[in-house]
Symmetry: C2
Subunit: 130 residues, 2 copies
DNA sequence: TTAAAGCAGACTGATTTAGTCTGTTTTTAT
DNA sequence: ATAAAAACAGACTAAATCAGTCTGCTTTAA
């Protein structure tokens, strides 16, 4: 089946910790996150950077700095996180394939992609932390 | 989002053709399949070989040989096809990770994997060809 | 002013992908 | 009988992606 990348795996772990600290508004540094879940610091920095660019988290600098979710965990779903980290491209390059018009599977992938997207959208961070 | 491999992409294309020829019991050679959908012959041979090992198709040798689905298209779903080609491993290596007990995401991936599996199981070849 | 944090980008070894190539076996048509 | 056409098997490879690492800069609170 689909193997998820380490990027996504670590990213979700970090987001779950941030979700648990959302109510108390406790900022979490990358150091804290990486130690708590034993994830490589340098790599995690880059991952969080992606999540920040898509405005799922917000960082604050300085010695008491760290990251916070930008919104309630029930407003962030797994599709948001994966899209942020892996980009928003479709499952196949079908739409850009020169023989798309003739392709026997052109509608199949549309259906499959839509179903999977819907499924991932229905799973929120809030559900995952309770 | 999830990028599907060429292996799966070609595999599904081939399976859709086979599904359309199922009622008439028309065998399709790899040559026929690869020319019809412009897929690399040698690569497709390997792909079909996987599908045969998981008993989704059955080959017959000789100069009129080729492949047939082993069962009705409404009995074959997209998960069957992807599992056959990509293996049946889970989305993450979580279950085999030494720190699984402590891992904050251990149940999250179980939930996500289950939801996606169910979604892919609900899409059959029969649906895709009508 | 210095330490701790965020932020940015170049670099790299290892693995996976997407095939290709060569060769064998089986079966049908001539 | 034999040639042709198909399945079947496995070794090999260039290119791309993955999973980080490393270096260095900027911002901010103590």
């Amino acid at each position: 089946m689909f193997q998820v990348t380490k990027k996504v795996e670590y990213g979700l772990r970090a987001m779950i910790i941030l979700a648990k600290n959302y109510k108390a508004k406790k900022v979490c540094s990358v150091k804290f996150l990486s130690e708590k879940e034993e994830m490589p610091f340098d790599f995690l920095e880059k991952i969080i950077s992606c999540l920040e660019k898509s405005k799922l988290v917000k960082g604050s600098k300085g010695s008491t700095g760290g990251y916070l979710l930008t919104k309630n965990p029930n407003k962030i779903n797994v599709k948001n996180i994966i899209s942020s980290l892996e980009g928003t491209k479709a499952m196949t390059n079908c739409p850009f394939c020169p023989r798309n018009k003739k392709c026997i599977a052109k509608n199949a992938w549309k259906k499959i992609d839509n179903s999977l997207s819907k499924t991932l959208q229905d799973i929120t961070l809030a559900q995952l932390i309770k």
